[in-house]
Point group: C2
Chain length 214, copies 2
């Protein structure tokens, strides 16, 4: 079943999950694909198709059980597991990620930060120590880490990724403005390119401006 999950559907799962959590906290227990569609600005048939991909079947005239669907999607998102993470780079982005409230959930645990800056090493961020990059190989030998957050400058990102792959890390949440060269058969990368995102916003503004001028 999970093999049918395309990248496009995978990108929608966190959004479904977020809305299902909201509904649960609002006390909604059942929901139809029509109501979900209205809420998410999608067609009911799109929603049914997506959910069918992972066996999330609603019942005719009854819809979906919110808690059941939430748990099912949560499991596909790996949220029933604990993921150990490290943050490479204790600059403003690395520190912000370490303090991000999403990690207060049980699914994601930052074990520590790493930096090359002597001024940062030894300090604490959100109670976690900033280690020297020199200590990274030894740290990884002792602590199993699933996800590395790359919050380093562009120039340093590939070298960090290579070192981490060598030490067995296979998943990268990459904030460096560069496309990492890693083996896609072996590694998973999700990029957060903040600059690209801001430029997309200014592009949309520019296109609106040009359309208005026509």
């Amino acid at each position: 079943m999970p093999g049918q999950l395309t990248d496009t559907i995978m990108r929608r799962l966190p959004i479904y999950y977020r809305h299902l959590c909201e509904m649960e906290s609002e006390g909604v227990t059942q929901i139809s694909s029509k109501e979900l569609g209205d809420r998410l600005n999608q067609t009911p048939s799109q929603i049914r198709q997506d959910f069918n991909c992972f066996g999330g079947f609603g019942r005719q005239g009854y819809g979906y059980k919110v808690s059941e669907l939430k748990d099912r999607i949560g499991a596909l998102l790996g949220l029933h597991r604990e993921h150990h993470m490290i943050v490479i780079g204790a600059g403003s982005i690395g520190r912000a990620i370490t303090c991000y409230p999403a990690f207060t959930s049980d699914a994601f645990h930052v074990l520590g930060l790493f930096d090359i800056d002597q001024q940062k090493i030894g300090k604490r961020v959100n109670g976690l120590p900033v280690h020297s990059m020199e200590d990274l190989p030894g740290f990884l030998d002792e602590n199993p880490v699933e996800i590395a957050v790359l919050a380093v400058p562009r120039e340093a990102a590939q070298q960090c990724a290579d070192l981490l792959v060598e030490k067995g890390v296979r998943a990268f949440w990459n904030f460096a403005p560069v496309d990492l060269r890693v083996d896609p058969q072996q590694c998973t990368v999700v990029d957060v390119h903040l600059s690209d995102s801001l430029q997309l916003l200014s592009c949309k503004m520019e296109i609106d401006r040009l359309s208005e001028a026509l």
Copy 2:
């Protein structure tokens, strides 16, 4: 011409721009769609199609002039203009955005931060003052602001957006984990949902795990 730019192509423009800047700094002056395609992991015909959308025509057997193409895409991205921004929320994300090096370019200028927390108000972030939210309407009367960065908790985001729209702000870079309800005819929103992004990563890891188990 710009009307033919779909959302999908717009999302690729910052990536093209980033690579063209890299090439320029590497001293590359000309490039064929084949070479660009190899570099970006895309087909040459995809690249030619994208560039044709905005009249970025290459010459047969010669390709594209890197600096010309970079300037053309930069203009579509609005990078020839100065965008005045404010950051709402001086928490860790708001502070990280304010310190982000992308804003050292001439295109984006953060004018100030706003928060409701008395402990933060009056402090400085990257040399910029943190104002009280109470001062926001007056600030906007005196300072034209194009882009608001929303780095506030989920519960506060919609109320902030409503206030900003009322005061004439039309573009939102939204870091709050919520889908803003604003008039799409009037406002442009680009979301950076960090939680969704991390969950996408753990989803891909989970699907890999399930595939391996099969």
